[in-house]
Symmetry: C2
Subunit: 129 residues, 2 copies
């Protein structure tokens, strides 16, 4: 049995994926993979997601240069969520978010409002030319 | 505008949630919340999820005693994923997984196979009586 068959794909043929930075353990982003994306991620050693908005494989960093080198691929107890341990390349500190921030999770709930607390490390206009 | 209205709920009225342990930064588990679950989580300061299998609110630890104390609630750039910073109570080290393990992500891909690499800390039969 192929290891890809052990994954419980959802009704859209996708699995949710959490990308965690290896050295800081920061949660960087959340995205989806289909079977081909997960196979490609394992083969390349770089994160390849399924872009639901674009309806195609998305080799993270293909435009921005912010490639995610993958050190480890984990699967949860129900076999329906994947956790990647990655190094975020192309900038120091790593930029995983399309807003130019380190992590996509930059909004914190404070006094019943979402507050952006993390800095933009690079202008998105200069990331996506 | 209510902060709950800022969340982009999916077609089932849910949002994916990642629980990360505050002091180790380990990713413990992944689950879903509906609007009421997220409101309850913020109000109690303890994780309350929506159980899709049981079709009801699920106050994490209600059976096992493995409550998740919530320190911080974050929202991602697209406002459609939540990240909790938690302390996993009831056992040291914390047990988040129903298998009695620390984290739900205990299977690692090695040589094209998923290998369980993390120990069972407590027999599930003694957790769920």
């Amino acid at each position: 049995m192929n290891w890809l068959d052990n994954v419980k794909w959802d009704r859209d043929g996708l699995v949710p994926v959490i990308a965690q930075e290896a050295h800081t353990k920061d949660v960087l982003m959340f995205a989806f993979m289909n079977r081909e994306a997960l196979a490609e991620t394992a083969r390349r050693g770089e994160a390849v997601y399924w872009s639901r908005s674009r309806g195609r494989l998305w080799h993270k960093g293909e435009e921005s240069g912010h490639i995610q080198k993958v050190h480890e691929i984990r699967l949860d107890c129900d076999a329906d969520v994947v956790l990647l341990s990655v190094t975020q390349l192309g900038h120091e500190p790593g930029i995983a978010c399309h807003t130019g921030r380190h992590s996509c999770f930059f909004q914190v709930l404070r006094d019943d409002a979402w507050v952006s607390v993390d800095p933009v490390l690079k202008d998105p206009a200069s990331i996506y030319k």
